[in-house]
Amino acid sequence: MSGFYTGSITKSPRINRLVEHLLLKMPEIEAERAVLLTESYMQTEGEPIITRRAKAFKHILENIPITIRPDELIVGSATKAPRSCQVFPEFSYDWLENEFDTVATRSADPFYISDETKQALSNVYRYWKGKTTSELATEYMIPEARQAIDHNIFTPGNYFYNGVGHVTVDYAKVIEIGYEGIITEAELALSKLNPGDGDFARKSHFLNAVILSCRAACDYAARYHELARSMAEKESNPQRKQELAQISDICLRVPAKGATSFYEACQSFWFVQMLIQMESSGHSISPGRFDQYMYPYYKADIDSGAVTVEFAQELMDCVWVKLNDLNKVRDAASAEGFAGYSLFQNLIAGGQNSEGVDVTNPLSFMCIEASMHVRLPQPSLSVRVWNGTPHEFLIKAAELTRTGIGLPAYYNDEVIIPALVNRGLTLADARDYCIIGCVEPQKAGKTEGWHDAAFFNMCRPLELVFSNGMDAGKQISIRTGDVSQFGTFQEFYDAYRAQMNYMIELLVNADNAIDVAHAERCPLPYLSSMVEDCIGRCKSVQEGGAVYNFTGPQGFGIANVTDSLWAIKTLVFDQKKYTLADFKNALDDNFGRSMPADQAQKITVAIVAELARLGKSLDETRIAEIYKAVLNNQTDSEKKAAYVSLLSDIEALPKYGNDVSEVDFFARDVAYTYSKPLERYENPRGGQYQAGLYPVSANVPLGAQTGATPDGRLAGTPIADGVSPAAGRDVHGPTAACNSVAKLDHFIASNGTLFNMKFHPSALAGRSGLESFIALIRGYFDQKGSHMQFNVVSRETLLDAQKNPDQYRSLVVRVAGYSALFTTLSRSLQDDIINRTEQTAE
């Protein structure tokens, strides 16, 4: 195919008005869903859980306030106020109650909450005690796993406190046959069951729940049909009156029936997208290959002259704005880890079809154009790249990158497809992959991937090697021996692997406990109606109804662990310049630098515990003195001088990220210490574990909980993000950094790897700048890297934005697997982004 239109498409003035309205106020927490959910649950005590879930969904959709915002063409809002959120007490609630008074003023992702809402939520929360998924999950975990979580070795907090999400449903099917079509399928399946079948009870209840949920969705759209009609009657502006009348007609048809136009397809898509996020609080509900499943409707309408390109673009822009109208409140700690009000609704354009043919189409370009028009963080726009990708498509994508919005992210078909085949997908399904959330590939409409199952901090087991399994005065892991007695690097490395293996097993225990809790307490019949083969198997996604099942917890800290192990190998065992005891002392003393409060507290607890073990009990005053001493870190000057020389020797070593083969191949092995043990485990849905290597933005808060590391990283400072080199350590330019990262085995990290690069806009100036940029991506992908993303902003811009946040309310930066408004991020995360090495062309 040739002759794509690559230029810009006129942006409707409506879009600016929609965006302005969206960003006008601080997001708000609303109570209606929680109240309605609880009402329903109280009425259905004792019924099967799947039925209760469907009835609650129906009750919510029948009664939750609905609204059509000014100028909207695509309608359906989960909240009265824009960009606001409902809450989901069935997963967890106590964190929000504890944070009622701070949620509006916290640094990351603040939400306004009214006294009325607090009162309403407090009332319903009483009902939920002992009934949530998180409480059940806690029961199912072994104590060692809970302890490891308490000690921040890994944090499965996401699914522990929330719904799972992380899915792309079969949008194409709903758009094509409507929920009436799906109901017909479920009824057919139901008719084939015999009341005498052993599993009739479960199966029939599941299918009935699917039918009930789908009907609820249709009825919800019908409420918009009525609302639009009554608004149209009252509207004085003739143009808007006509628009509302059309909206009313469309909501009468979709999503109940199949779409007959591009406009209907967009509206149908939106109801699906929004309602999934009404059923459960799981984020990363990813639209997937929007350019593919929407294309038939677009093409038909363009061919018949029913829509103009400009109007089709306007509709897409409206969908893009709506994706930013959804929101989610998280606990303060998670908000730091997922900063930027992000919902990770990943939408991907370009790539090949299930037969391996490139299917980049005009909508692929219009997806990029829509992100240029709205300049908002959602959707997380991605593009698929392979050898057959049209060059002009990448140029268009690079033009978006150059705007500094942090979008799109680039994904490599040449790695992801074989990586998925290796996990048991058929070749056809693998070729049709999309991306979930940050960087996680799956086959849409067939997968329950549990892609973001936990953060695993690979630096912490390294600390456990030095402490022989102790943390804050407790034996939380296995004893791998006194570190100062290790005679070879191999012994040290084996100890690290042993600590890793132990903690990985606990991670699996924790994740599987949570998995079971979701199946038992929060199966999702509505979501399951759109994932194959739930209807066929007559069971929910949470119980293993999907064709493909995975669990994908993500490890991070590769760069720090690699540089650390390399330092130990070189300085202790090759050069014999230092002993492991020297390293241990330096780490305990944070290389003689002042100690961050978190670390000081931990060390104090350890000292007190040790003294207690020796029979010395201390009073509060004495403990406070110890804490103060630790905090000030009164290391003597001789020691301090020794630490300075150790640090400078570490500094002089080659580091991951500079295209030094021996270090980079060592990094590949380090990554295996996480990815290889993990893939041996299974989840309760019968699926395999697969590693991801990416941190979202958790490398900052989890770095704050990590002591000094042998690579010279000080206690409490951020850990390297994703598979990227440690901040500021890649000093040989972008090609060297790419070559290093490409030396990792991206195929085995099939839950995705994340490589962040920050470019100064000058690096992408002019057509030749774009060409070089694309060549860089192509070059990285030729060497089998999996993913790349970019921040294109100047350091000065970011510093200025910190000083004058009001002037930069719309400044979008790439955080990790997603983009966020820079000024909504916490200060420490802002600093981290500023300090990532800025690559420029020389």
């Binding site: 330019g733 060409e771 030729d782 020389e842």
Partner: protein, 262 residues
């Protein structure tokens, strides 16, 4: 057996992902030693052949090291994939590539053996026999022509331009491709007349149709201090964009494809 891969040369830097000195993504190898002493030179540490010390932000760095072609090629080939994707390759800069002709020739030959496209960025100030030696392995000659007036050239660079202009004619005749580059330096060659003279000469050369006007910049200034040398450009500011555009137009009028920057 003497192997050209073992030829020794003296370099002071290797720069990856360079996108301004020849087409595509390139690796630049900076050779040490130059025949000229241009007052505006942004790499004064490149001028002397001798290994020397330069202080930067309080730390003293040794400038210059002797390496074999083989060692350089190990570095150059690391980015082979990007050359292929961008139409880039190796650029030898300096210093002056012609100051170390055997090394330059061997390095260019090695690059071509490995399928890497080659360029040199050079003053052209050497006997033509030397230039002839390396032309078979060279895809692109980026030749600096700084001024047409020999006296002014000598005053600002230390040498007359006679040899350079003579060589330019022969290089244009024999090289695969020649692009003329002009550092645009205020108070030296930044008038439309001076640029027109250079562009006129360039357009008279056979097979030459491209000229790059490189605006003077001050990024090398601190290096002079670091080397204990005097920066003779004083507070002269880089030429403004509109001025560069005007000179660009001047060159275009003489039938050349002109661009600002490399």
């Amino acid at each position: 057996m003497t192997d050209y891969m073992d030829t020794l040369g003296r370099i002071f830097d290797i720069q990856k992902f360079s996108v301004h000195d020849g087409p595509g993504i390139r690796t630049i190898v900076f050779l040490k030693g130059c025949f000229l002493r241009c007052r505006w030179c942004c790499n004064p540490e490149s001028q002397r052949y001798e290994i020397e010390e330069m202080s930067t932000d309080g730390t003293v760095k040794t400038i210059g090291r002797d390496v074999t072609v083989r060692e350089i090629m190990d570095e150059v080939l690391k980015d082979r994939v990007y050359y292929r994707r961008s139409g880039g390759g190796l650029t030898i800069s300096g210093g002056e590539a012609l100051r170390q002709p055997e090394f330059t020739t061997a390095l260019l030959k090695a690059a071509k053996e490995s399928g890497v496209s080659t360029a040199i960025e050079s003053t052209g100030h050497a006997s033509f026999e030397i230039i002839q030696m390396l032309l078979p392995y060279l895809d692109l000659y980026l030749l600096d022509i700084k001024h047409i007036n020999p006296d002014k050239h000598k005053e600002f660079t230390g040498v007359s331009n006679r040899l350079i202009l003579e060589n330019a004619v022969k290089i244009a005749r024999d090289a695969k491709k020649l692009i003329i580059r002009v550092p645009v330096v205020p108070n030296f060659n930044d008038t439309p007349d001076e640029i027109a003279d250079i562009a006129g000469f360039a357009s008279s050369l056979p097979n030459v149709n491209e000229i790059h006007l490189l605006p003077y910049h001050r990024l090398g200034r601190d290096k002079y201090t670091g080397l204990g040398r005097e920066y003779r450009m004083g507070d002269i500011m880089p030429p403004p964009n509109d001025k560069m555009q005007e000179l660009c137009n001047t060159a275009e009028k003489l039938g050349l494809k002109a661009q600002i920057g490399g």
